[in-house]
Structures are given as C-alpha cells and as structure tokens.
C-alpha cells in the first residue's frame, strides 16, 4: 500500500518537474495562434487567387417546368460557376414539398448591360444538363465589365463587315483590339499629361494675374495648343467608336460593342492548360500594374499599391529619427526617476490610443494648422485652393509616424540598454565624449533593435486605414505622389491606399457581390506588400546582427 503511494508520488514529482502540462499549454497557445493565422491566409489566398484564373464557361440547361423564371430570360444560364452553397430557406416544389437537393448555384453571367445583374442563381435540382459551349467568347469591356457571347461580325470603319465565319475574322479582331489599346493609351496621355501640363500653365498665368501683352500672348499660344490637342483627342475618340464588334448574348440578344470599349477577349473553353497559366500570370500582372476602372471594381490597383508603399516608406523615414532621438534622450540624458517613469508610461500608452484619434489630431494639427500655415507662407497665390492645407501623403505619413513612434522608442530604448556597459566604458576611456560614444558605439550596436521597432511600426502603419481617411486617402487619386513633373515627389498629393481600397470595394461599391473577389485579391496584395517590406527590414537586421554579434567569449 505504502509502496504504491510512493510510486505514485514519484510519478507525480517527475511529471510536474518536467513541466509537461505547461509545455502542452504553451504548445496549445502557439497552435491556436498559428491555426488562426494560417486560416486567415488560406481564406484570403483561396478567394483572392482564383480571381485571376480563367475558368471555364458553362451552360446550364434548366428543366422545362421552371423555364423563364430566370431573370435573364430564356431557359439556360451561361457563365462561370462561382460557388455551390446550401439554401438557407428551404426551396419547395410545386406541391409545397421540400425538394431533395437543397444546393444552390451562383453563376457569374456578366452582360450587365443586358441583364442588369452580374449573377444568376439556380437550384441544383432545377438543372437538366450542363455543357461547355466551345465557341463562347469572354469579352472584357471598359464599361459594364465582362460580356459573354458569340461574335457575329466586325464592322469596319469603311462600312465593310467581316463575319465571324470568315477565316480572317480572328486576325482582324486581334488587330483592331491592339489598335484600340494603343489609341486608348494615346488619348490617356494627351488628356492626362499634355493637356494637364497646359492647364497647369494656364492656372499659373491666371494666378499671377498679370495683364501685360506678354502674358496675353502666352495665353493665346497655350489656348491654341490646347485646342489642337483637344481636337486630336476627340478625333481619336471618334476612331475608337468607328468600328464595332457585333455579338449575340447566350440568351439571344444582339449587341454591338465599339472597338474602343473592347479591352481584351478570350475563348475560355478553347484554352489549353498552359494558355490558362499564362493568362493567369498576365491577369495577375495587369492587376498589379493597371489603373482601376469603373469605380475601382475593374482594372488594376497599381495606384493603391504605390500609394501604400510610398506612404509606408515616408512613415518609416519619419518615424525612425523621431523615435531614436526620443529614445536617446530618455535613456542616456534624462535624469532617471519618477518623472521619467511617468513619461515612459505615457509614451507607451500612446500606442493604445485609438488610431482614429490620431487621424483627428493629424487633421487638426498637421493639415489645418501646419499645412495651412505653409500655404499662407509659400503658396499664398493659390489660395483659397489649398496646397498643403488639405490631406496628402506627407501628412498621412506623419500622422502614422506619430501613431507608431512609441513602438520605435520602446524597442530602441531596450536595444540601447542591452549594449554592454563594458564597451561604453571602453569608448569613454579612449577619450570619447558621451555623444561620440552614443553615435559611434551605442547606436550602431542597437541598430538591430531599432529595425525591430521599425518592422513593428511598418506592419502596423501599412495596415491602418481609419486615420488615413481623415488625412489624405482617396477613392481615386488623379495622379501618383511621384511622377515626371517637377519636383517629381509631390508630397502634398492625395493618394490611394490598399487598406482603404478594400474598405471602398467591399462596402462602398454599388455591386459588392461582384467586388468580393477584388476585395480578397486586394487584401492578398496588402499582405504581400507588408511581408515584402518586413522581409527587407528583417534581412537588413540579420546582416547587422551578424556584424555586431559577439562571437568568441
């Protein structure tokens, strides 16, 4: 009896001594965290990437008894299958009995101009057969998004018509499409850049308010320039609509599409796997590099990527000096004591202030006060149009820098505290002043810690949206904060941001169902961007660590 108890005791002792329960507990904590991260990434990737995959177009033939109940009309639904899901409210058949199969299909049918809706829903039960129409075209248009249909002919500018049965049809269409793309770029260049330049000069002239003969001459010269450019643009526009593509929708409606409206087209059911992969990559790259269209629901998100990148970089440039200088004072020069402790606690708590409060502060202080003063001092001639006195990428970066500066202060302080006293004393004993010691010994040795702070700050700053809405982010920015116009970096400009883009697409766009894949794709890119920036910082830090790490002791 006593033996057994002893044995039991021993077992308990070793069990507790090994700390097994706690190992399990910590492992569980990590596992929960990891699962959540992986699940989040999984959802975003699995929803975001398929956007770029050219999926097959299917034709769902409906059973005769429910024909014509489809809003698109006709007895079939043609489009890409989005998802199958269970009906929440059970569907009943004509006799009022619950149907056996409660699955519902969501199909992307496009042709919004004809159908009014991008999606069609059908019960699995109601589908008689599914086929793949071989010859169907998927046509991407400038407006109204995607169209599915069968081309009938192209009408050329000279009135000639090339029917789709003609052997040269595909080459003619490809050539027209390429030409229209080129013209579109040209129009964009004229309207955005050249006319923009002239407008800018006109504006300058108007503001200078000189009425001598010289400026009048200049004015008329600019006017003439403007007119030639404008007429050139309208000429190009006319050419864009001179030829057109005639096609018929799967439900039998005849449509005509001006060539200028045609962005690209594919025959999704005729693609080989390799072509699909190439198309996937091209779609993805276009998404990265193109400007958005149609209230951001179509096209790419390049301005948002660039805006986020520029803002985060500017923020890093601002936050590091701020934080490091503050940390140096706190750690090296300030008298340690109660008051300093209070300051430290206050700084740390700054990180807990809701970000929107920083937005309000940034709007009041940076934008209205500082920006307003700058406008009055340097840009008085443009007033009442504000230059810096309105939200812009610079103020947004400063606001976020203010928000993330506690992180940098804390990590810099920790890093500086970790610099061994021995090497500080070594430096001082060499006749270095305190500042020289900080600058030459302490700061380089704390660089990895400072970078850790920066990494945390970037991760927080890049994902922040709320304060940005007050200090400079917009749904659609006319130009990037960096371009070829002097002085190249335009810090006062408004910018687009991936985080805000997600919010805008998901919650502000007219057709949120159609925008959903874009939301996921944008989220994916935001995550990729943050990871890229972080990786860059982490790699630098590792390099520095190797340089400054003590090895032999």
């Amino acid at each position: 009896m006593s033996d057994a108890r002893n044995g039991n005791l021993e077992f308990q002792r070793t069990y507790a001594a090994k700390g097994e329960p706690f190992v399990w507990l910590t492992a569980m904590g990590l596992a929960v965290g990891l699962i959540m991260v992986v699940a989040l990434l999984g959802i975003i990737i699995s929803n975001g990437l398929p956007v770029f995959w050219p999926s097959r177009v299917l034709e769902f033939q409906l059973k005769s008894d429910i024909s014509n109940s489809v809003p698109q009309g006709g007895d079939k639904i043609v489009g890409e299958l989005v998802q199958k899901r269970m009906k929440r409210i059970p569907v009943l058949n004509a006799q009022g009995i619950k149907k056996a199969d409660q699955t519902e299909l969501q199909v992307f049918v496009g042709n919004k101009d004809t159908y009014g809706l991008n999606f069609a829903f059908a019960n699995q039960d109601d589908i008689a057969s599914v086929t793949e129409p071989k010859d169907i075209y998927r046509i991407e248009r400038l407006e109204y998004g995607i169209a599915f249909g069968y081309p009938k002919s192209v009408k050329l500018a000279n009135g000639q018509s090339v029917p789709s049965t003609n052997a040269t049809f595909s080459t003619v269409l490809a050539q027209l499409c390429a030409e229209s793309t080129a013209r579109r770029h040209e129009i964009e260049n004229i309207e955005k850049h050249e006319i923009g330049q002239i407008n800018k000069q006109l504006n300058e002239l108007r503001i200078s308010q000189k009425s001598d003969s010289q400026s009048a001459e200049k004015l008329s010269a600019l006017d003439a320039q403007y007119k030639t450019l404008a007429s050139k643009a309208s000429e190009l526009r006319a050419t864009q609509s001179a030829s057109s593509l005639q096609y018929i929708t799967p439900t039998g409606v005849d449509r005509s599409l001006a060539i200028g409206e045609l962005v690209s087209y594919t025959q999704p059911n005729r693609l080989s796997t390799w072509e699909r992969i190439v198309l996937f990559a091209r779609n993805f790259l276009n998404f990265l590099w193109e400007n958005p269209r149609e209230a951001n629901t179509e096209g790419g998100i390049f301005p948002a990527i660039f805006g986020t990148f520029a803002m985060t970089l500017l923020m890093s440039v601002a936050v590091v000096p701020f934080g490091v200088i503050a940390a140096i004072y706190l750690r090296e020069y300030a008298k340690q004591g109660f008051f300093l402790q209070c300051v430290r606690i206050a700084v740390n708590n700054l990180a807990g202030v809701p970000s929107i409060v920083f937005g309000v502060f940034g709007l009041g202080f940076f934008v209205y006060f500082v920006g307003g003063s700058i406008d009055q001092l340097f840009f008085g001639k443009y007033l009442p149009t504000p230059t810096f006195g309105t939200g812009g990428v610079f103020w947004a970066a400063l606001t976020l820098a203010l928000m993330t500066v506690p992180v940098v202060i804390v990590s810099t302080e920790e890093a500086m505290a970790a610099v061994p006293r021995g090497i500080r004393e070594g430096s001082l004993s060499c006749g270095a002043s305190k500042w020289q010691t900080i600058q030459r010994i302490v700061l380089p040795a704390s660089l990895p810690g400072i970078l850790t702070g920066l990494i945390l700050a970037m991760a927080r700053g890049a994902g922040e949206v709320a304060p940005l809405m007050l200090v400079g982010v917009v749904k659609l920015a006319p130009s990037l904060p960096l371009d070829g116009d002097f002085p190249f970096a335009h810090l006062e400009r408004k910018f687009m941001h991936l985080g805000f883009h997600i919010y805008d697409l998901g919650f502000q766009s007219p057709d949120s169902e159609a925008a959903k894949p874009m939301v996921f794709a944008t989220a994916l890119l935001l995550i990729l961007l943050v990871i890229t920036l972080n990786l860059a910082a982490i790699l630098t830090r590792e390099k520095l660590r190797k340089k400054y790490a003590g090895s032999a002791f």
Partner: protein, 274 residues
C-alpha cells in the same frame, strides 16, 4: 612649470613635457582620498605617490577597492550614480578634479585596459584607431601608422596584420585583451591603467603581456591591478597592498615581497588569507 598653467581658463589637461629620463617620483599623487558609493565607503583616506615611467602594482583581496581607486585615476567611476569623494588626485601638479578641466582631455592622457576585455563591435583596424578618430584624426597615413605601431606594441601585429578589416569579435579572448591594450596605447597616453589585464589569458599570452608592460614602461607610467603575486614581483617596480578599502603598505616591490613591514601584508602574500 609648463606655460599653459599661467592661463586663467583652460579646458584641456596639460600635456607633460618630458625633460628628464629619471621621471618624477610623485607623478600621480593621491592625497587623503576617500571614496563612497552612495553611503558605502569603498576607500579610506588613501595617500600614495605613483612614480613616473615605472610600473606600480595594486594588490589585495577581492573587494578591497583596487579597481575603485584605479577607476578614479581617469574619473571612470563618475558614470555611477550617487558617488562622492574627498581628498584629491594630482597628476603632474594638476588636480584631475579641477572644474576647469574637461574629463575627456584627462581620459585622453590616461588610457585604460579593463578587467574584462571590451573590444567594440567593429573591425580590428577601427578598434585600434578609435581614440584617434574621436580626437578628430582621420588622415589615413597617420591611422595606418598608428595601427601598426600599436598592434606591434601589444604583440598582436603578427596575428592580426592579415585580418585588420575583420570583426574584432572574431578574435580569441586573449587576442581581444591584447587588442584592448593596443587601443589603449594608440593615442599615446602618458598613463596606462590596467585592471587585471591577464585574468583571462593563458600563460603564454600572460608572458607576452608582461613583456609588453616592461617595454611600455619606457614610455608610459603604468598602474596595474593584479591577483597574481608572481606577476606583481615579475613586472612591477612598486607595490601597494590594500585591505578593506585602506592602503596597508606601499613600497618597492622587492621589499614588499621579501620583507613586508605589516603583518597583514605578509599574511596576504604568503597566502594565509584573501
């Protein structure tokens, strides 16, 4: 006396002008010096004259205040909060506590090698030239010349000459200590303070450092703290024995080790306590 003394305001610790080969017997003069860490008194009324261009050893049991006194000679203890002192330390007729003197200029004249080697996380080259760089010297030929002279002086040249631009942290413990010696002598201070420079070294490196001390003696006034009686006998000219913050005995080394005047000294060097 040097002319600088007559100037009413000066901020730099005056440079010694070497006129005689014999050297002054009271080059560093510690006068009734007491030292406190907060309320705790670490040194009690110490008076001691350290001769110029000779080696003076501080010995005594652990915690008796050797390092504290040594670190006062270049005012290194001032980094610690709440310290205070009484008495004075005079180096070559000038008080190191003279409020007109910048502590930086004092430290430029008084080099220091620490108990634990403390190379900077920089290259070997940059470690050695650090005292010159902070003094504003950036001329490459001067720096190159200094590196060679100092590393040779610290008996590290042969081992390090091919890897001058590698990190100093890749050196062995003993090499690091010699690098610290090279760094301490790079800007030619007048006084070299060494706090147990051999505590982390193997016998061969120890011999090297001891030989080094003998060589450096012709140029520098050296004060060395050591726990090793043989080392004190081998390389010092005078020895001071401390016990519990008090100076017990100070005399020529051979006298201390052969015929100490105090009983406590004899007990310590014969290993009966401490």
């Amino acid at each position: 006396m040097p002319a600088v003394l007559s100037e009413p305001v000066r901020s730099h610790f005056p440079t010694t002008v070497n006129t005689s080969t014999a050297g002054r017997p009271d080059f560093i003069s510690i006068q009734n010096f007491s030292f406190f860490y907060g309320a705790k008194q670490a040194l009690f009324d110490i008076s001691l004259d350290i001769p110029e261009r000779q080696v003076t050893a501080f010995i005594g049991p652990s915690g008796c205040g050797k390092s504290t006194l040594l670190r006062n000679l270049n005012r290194m203890n001032e980094l610690i909060d709440g310290i205070s002192h009484s008495g004075d330390i005079i180096i070559h007729d000038h008080s190191i506590y003279d409020p007109l003197i910048e502590v930086i200029s004092l430290r430029k004249r008084v080099g220091m090698v620490f108990q634990k080697s403390n190379p900077f996380p920089k290259s070997i080259y940059e470690n050695v030239v650090y005292p010159l760089r902070v003094a504003g010297q950036n001329a490459k030929n001067v720096l190159d010349e200094t590196v060679e002279r100092s590393l040779k002086g610290a008996a590290l040249w042969d081992e390090a000459k091919d890897r001058l631009h590698e990190s100093a942290l890749s050196l062995s413990g003993g090499q690091m200590q010699r690098l610290c010696i090279a760094r301490a002598i790079a800007n030619r201070p007048e006084i070299l303070l060494m706090d147990e420079p051999c505590s982390a070294l193997d016998p061969i490196a120890t011999v090297k450092v001891e030989e080094l001390i003998q060589e450096l003696k012709s140029e520098f006034t050296i004060v060395i703290v050591t726990h090793n009686m043989q080392q004190a006998t081998r390389c010092s000219d005078k020895t001071a024995f401390f016990y519990l913050g008090k100076l017990i005995e100070f005399d020529v080394t051979s006298k201390i080790f052969s015929n100490p005047a105090q009983k406590q000294t004899e007990d310590y060097i014969t290993g009966r306590f401490g």
